[in-house]
């Protein structure tokens, strides 16, 4: 069994267990695809966390989905929630070979079921989340903690993201929206309108001047004389004496009661029974009325049958289906046959010029992270753009949901560049109006000639785009 350990001490034996040592740098630069389980030594917590992040943020399903086991951990380590299992220092010494396959073999079996597109990595965060949940056969339950601004977070998928913002919630919204995950209400959180933090200080404030310097006191109603005043007005030498009739009060419920509480402002002396409530954000100090706070439902998620299917076969087909409503997207293999036929036609007659163009949305992780529930709408608009720029005789395919390749018959390199420029302009408008963070587009074009073959054309157009 291939068990790799990431630690600083280069150990090769844990109890009876033989392991292969690997450094943090190696896991980042050249992760071992053959590894079945990653063990992370928690003697250095910071190092252990970085190791877990390096594994989960990889884009290869053969790496980021693999079970992570922590050793020398502690019951209170927050990174325990990130891993698939952990062993305390005492438990670590008792580890043996037979333990791991029994406990974690099923995860690896499900990883085997995933048919990743050869050469294409899982840059799509939604797919990563889906595949992670599918391989663990787990319900995604939020944890309570201060590590996230919502106060409730999903540590085992949060780790996929570099930024600690609400990206993961948008992703989950999207997956739920596509019926890939089913949800169950867990809790509702109130969030700062400015920074989305749920760490808010709710304060009773004076309705007159807004000061939080309030003192509350019970009102006392003396039955004998109907006098009503704050309890402090009755207090004399440890007894309660009515300031109206000078009688000593006998007992609560006997000759007096406390019908209400009042709040007195130490700033403006205003008295009220109903102070206003104000919230101050612990992160950004924004003061907000409770009714103006953002509210967000935090949910517990389970994978649906559709989700399991998408996790195994990828979710790019789903995006293509959306695009397909606007423009015909050919399967990649069919596109290659038509491209081959076009190259052959040029070779035979040598009278016309055709081109292949590519455009690709970069920072795909951010792209999906910001999409959330708008995914269907945005992909529909992408379809509109393609439809408006390309001709009906042009043929388009995708190699994943962010990379589009089109064959433009009877179009020289100048015409291809015009088409690309128009596409880029229209995409820029779409991105500016829908995305907060910068999303860039790579483009490239290649003119077909009689000396090329299909693979060289496709490789060339992909490499050119990367080089741009």
């Amino acid at each position: 069994m291939n068990i790799f350990i990431i630690d600083e001490k280069k150990i090769t034996q844990i109890g009876e267990l033989s392991v292969v040592s690997i450094s943090l740098k190696e896991i980042k630069d050249n992760p071992p695809l053959e590894s079945e389980i990653f063990i992370v030594n928690c003697e250095n917590k910071k190092y252990a966390k970085a190791a877990c992040e390096a594994i989960r943020r990889d884009t290869n399903p053969a790496i980021y989905l693999k079970p992570i086991i922590l050793i020398n951990s502690n019951e209170n380590f927050t990174i325990n929630n990130i891993a698939d299992g952990y062993f305390t220092i005492e438990q670590t010494d008792a580890l043996n070979n037979s333990f791991f396959p029994a406990s974690y073999g099923s995860i690896n079996q499900r990883i085997e079921e995933i048919q990743g597109f050869k050469g294409v990595k899982d840059t799509n965060i939604a797919l990563k989340v889906l595949r992670y949940i599918m391989t663990r056969k787990m319900s995604l339950t939020p944890f309570r903690g201060s590590g996230n601004r919502f106060g409730l977070y999903y540590p085992n998928i949060d780790i996929f993201m570099r930024s600690k913002d609400e990206t993961i919630y948008n992703t989950l919204d999207f997956l739920e929206d596509q019926n890939l995950l089913s949800q169950e209400f867990y809790e509702k959180v109130h969030l700062c309108i400015h920074c989305n933090s749920s760490f808010l200080n709710f304060m009773e404030v004076c309705p007159h001047c807004g000061s939080a310097d309030l003192e509350d006191d019970d009102l006392v109603h003396h039955f004998d004389c109907a006098h009503v005043a704050p309890a402090k007005n009755f207090k004399q030498n440890g007894s309660l004496i009515c300031p109206k009739c000078d009688k000593e009060l006998k007992g609560l419920g006997v000759d007096y009661d406390k019908p209400a509480t009042v709040f007195r402002c130490n700033s403006c002396r205003h008295t009220s029974q109903n102070p206003d409530i104000s919230t101050t954000c612990f992160h950004c100090s924004t003061v907000t009325e409770p009714e103006d706070l953002q509210k967000r439902k935090i949910k517990k998620y389970s994978i649906t049958a559709l989700g399991e299917n998408a996790a195994i076969h990828g979710i790019d087909q789903m995006f293509i289906q959306i695009l397909d409503e606007k423009i015909k997207i050919l399967p990649y293999q069919a596109f290659k046959i038509l491209l081959s036929s076009e190259i052959e036609r040029i070779r035979r007659y040598d009278i016309s010029k055709s081109s292949v163009i590519l455009f690709q949305i970069t920072q795909s992780e951010q792209f999906y992270a910001q999409l959330g529930k708008r995914t269907r709408q945005i992909f529909s608009e992408i379809g509109d753009i393609l439809n408006s720029v390309l001709r009906t005789c042009d043929i388009t395919t995708t190699i994943n949901e962010v990379t589009f390749i089109s064959l433009l018959p009877e179009t020289d390199s100048t015409g291809a560049d015009v088409a690309l420029r128009r596409l880029k302009e229209k995409f820029s408008v779409l991105i500016e109006s829908n995305f907060e963070k910068q999303i860039e587009i790579n483009t490239s074009s290649i003119s077909l000639n009689k000396d090329q073959d299909v693979e060289s054309v496709l490789t060339g157009v992909i490499e050119n785009a990367t080089a741009n």
Binding site: C225, K244, D255, P259, V262, N274
Partner: protein, 437 residues
């Protein structure tokens, strides 16, 4: 008609001494007190009003120049449905520097929700809520505790005011600095809900409007109605607000009088209020009111009748005497009169009844005319139309109310039944009953 002819024959056949013998009750008490005295002192009022017009104009100017804060306090339970109309009338007042404090005394309906909405809309200034009902006095005292005005106006929740009522009720304080409290003029707003409310409307015109103006002129006004009354805040603080009722309005008024301060009725400060809309509710209300005469005038404030009292004041003495004489003694005397007629002159009962009815009817007509004169331009068409109910007033006032009053006095004298009244929460009644005035 035959009875009427017989009645006229009966009158013609009797000499003056005999007539007095048969109708002394009417002539000595009702006619002299409620026709002659009311007419005379109402004339005095009109004369003084005209004479004091420049003083009143000056007082109004000084009021608006000083512009003191006036606290409007409204205690109530389950009366949220009335508050929007009340708040609307307060926001329309010609005098603007007012704060509205509403106390929800343990309502178990949507009152507090309505109050919160009105507060959020800025239509009322403060709301307080007792989680458990404490009774009207404690609710009023709670509002008093947190009122900031120089004057406090107490309103019932089911009322609304004429546009200038707040300034009209405050002006008397600027005409005479020895005034401690001013009562507003109550008009019925549900006049034609049914016969009960129509008869009460005429009664309000006579007893509250005319009656209190006359008592005010005589310096023997004994009640500032809680439905619409204005008080100097310093005076209320001095007497520490309201004591446990029922009848707390009259009690408060006598407490103010005991301080040597004057109390006045201001007929130009008009307040429209709802009266009980069934005879059963009316009986309960009058039963409660009438017992307070015994509880407060006869018991709690009996010191006002004592010449040995260090603070003896002839007007305070007359206030209580007038109240006791015409509402209690004469009430019992009326029964004596009835027995006297029945047992000594049984053959003339029907004739004497008819003549008495005509006499009391005539009195009601005169009193109605006096009230219309007092109302002046503020008299509404619907109030003029009440004239059709005048024939019923001798029965309403002379028999119906008298029966309730008699029963109330007996029950209070013998059983102190006001302490059992559900008007107060049981917890309060239980404690207060042990008190001995």
């Amino acid at each position: 008609m035959q009875l009427l002819t017989n009645a006229l024959d009966f009158i013609n056949s009797q000499d003056a001494v005999d007539l007095f013998y048969y109708f002394w009750f009417f002539l000595v008490f009702d006619f002299s007190r409620y026709v002659l005295a009311d007419t005379f002192f109402l004339m005095v009022y009109f004369f003084k009003k005209k004479k004091n017009r420049p003083v009143r104009v000056d007082a109004r100017l000084r009021l608006f120049k000083e512009n003191p804060l006036i606290s409007i306090i409204v205690p109530g339970k389950n009366e949220g449905r009335y508050i929007p109309e009340l708040a609307k009338s307060l926001n329309r007042q010609t005098y603007k520097n007012i704060e509205t404090i509403i106390v929800d005394d343990g309502s178990d309906d949507n009152t507090f929700k309505i109050l919160r909405k009105l507060k959020n809309e800025g239509k009322i200034d403060s709301i307080f809520r007792n989680d458990v009902r404490g009774g009207k006095a404690s609710a009023a005292n709670l509002a008093l505790m947190y009122s900031n005005g120089k004057y406090v106006v107490h309103l019932d929740a089911d009322t609304h005011l004429k546009e200038d009522s707040v300034e009209q009720i405050i002006i008397p304080f600027y005409m005479d600095s020895s005034i401690g409290a001013v009562g507003g003029d109550l008009r019925v707003k549900n006049i034609y809900a049914n016969l009960a409310t129509s008869l009460q409307s005429i009664d309000y015109m006579k007893s509250i409007s005319t009656g209190r103006v006359v008592n005010s002129q005589l310096g023997i006004l004994r009640i500032i109605s809680g439905a619409f009354g204005a008080f100097r805040k310093d005076v209320l603080d001095q007497i520490k607000g309201w004591d446990v009722g029922p009848g707390l309005d009259g009690d408060l008024t006598l407490k103010i009088r005991k301080l040597g301060l004057k109390v006045k009725h201001e007929p130009e400060a008009v307040c429209y209020t709802s009266v009980p809309d069934s005879f059963i509710k009316l009986i309960k209300q009058r039963y409660r009111w009438d017992r307070s005469l015994v509880r407060f005038r006869l018991r709690k404030h009996s010191d006002l009748l004592s010449f040995k009292n260090r603070n003896f004041n002839i007007f305070n003495f007359l206030t209580v005497v007038d109240n006791l004489l015409f509402n209690m003694v004469m009430n019992f005397k009326w029964w004596i009169y009835i027995f006297y007629i029945i047992f000594l002159n049984p053959k003339f009962i029907a004739i004497i009844f008819v003549i008495n009815y005509l006499l009391y009817f005539s009195t009601n007509v005169i009193e109605f005319i006096l009230a219309t004169k007092l109302y002046g331009k503020t008299m509404r068409f619907q109030e003029y139309m009440l004239i059709i109910f005048l024939p019923l007033m001798p029965l309403y006032h002379g028999i119906f109310l008298r029966l309730i009053r008699t029963y109330a006095h007996i029950m209070e004298i013998i059983h102190r039944s006001s302490f059992e009244d559900k008007w107060n929460p049981w917890k309060v009644s239980k404690v207060v009953k042990k008190q001995r005035f």
